[in-house]
Symmetry: C2
Amino acid sequence: MVEKQDLPVHRARAFLEPGPILLVTSCHDGERNVMTMGWHMVLEFTPSLVGCMISVGNHSFELIRQSAECVLNLPTLDMLDAVVAIGNCSGRDKDKFAGFNLDVQAADHIRAPLLTACHANFERRLPDDRMVKDYNLFIFEIVKAHVAPQPKHPRTLHYTGDGVFVVAGKTVSRRSDFRLGLLGNGR
Amino acid sequence: MVEKQDLPVHRARAFLEPGPILLVTSCHDGERNVMTMGWHMVLEFTPSLVGCMISVGNHSFELIRQSAECVLNLPTLDMLDAVVAIGNCSGRDKDKFAGFNLDVQAADHIRAPLLTACHANFERRLPDDRMVKDYNLFIFEIVKAHVAPQPKHPRTLHYTGDGVFVVAGKTVSRRSDFRLGLLGNGR
């Protein structure tokens, strides 16, 4: 396993805006869990804000709400088995970390663990839960980003429903056609 | 151009959850515009809700806010030139529909036009603008979905920043490993 590097948090958009399935780890009061999540969006570069829909029916919901923190972990194609298995059982019934042999590391700023096998891990705190009541919509701030140095464009998984994932394919650069002010991953 | 078909609106997630770049068309008071958008998320199946971040600096912002409606259009790899060009100029300076030869069709329920060349078009109304002030976050409801019958998994564009797009690649089905309650595109 290659050691991950710190990424300035405003650059997390490079990995989140493409819309991958994520694994969300949480920890509260001695209990921890991991869930899959596909409903999320970037909201701001600085502070580095991300909106996430976490259904109240998920076991992770209260762990995240009560602890007001979680980690977004970015899995890739080689982790598809784990992604599907994690999404198809509940932390109510099972310790998914042990059950699916998930190696973890301690986060720097929060209690929820980092999933070692993932390409990137984003530690997040919850500054705004006003929209949780109406939409199960949490607004998190990324406070630390850990990213594997290679590959630059990981083979992420994008969920379409019905058990079908689209895998991130080739990349196309149109950098030379962009206005300077629109380049970069922050502002 | 193949004729599009109606899709039940709760199934829009199949095209939006994977996280593609979208083209947003709007119309207000005789003026219309089109912009690119990468910051969006599915929020609910029924009603079919989508959250979108539209920066107040965009010319489309007021057209969308005032009209309280817009269309999400889903472009594919063959439209990359138009996507980049649309994202790199402002409707303040230019009629992008004429400038980029964008064919349009009338929507069924709203005034903003559908972009004919796109794989799908989602007509949307704005039921909730409470989060616009703090986050430029609009919560829209899809009221009509028009989708090309083929291909089932279009080659959508996913933006990473820095002028680089990831193109949707191969699909992988793990349908047989899913719990029945998690299949389908609605609930």
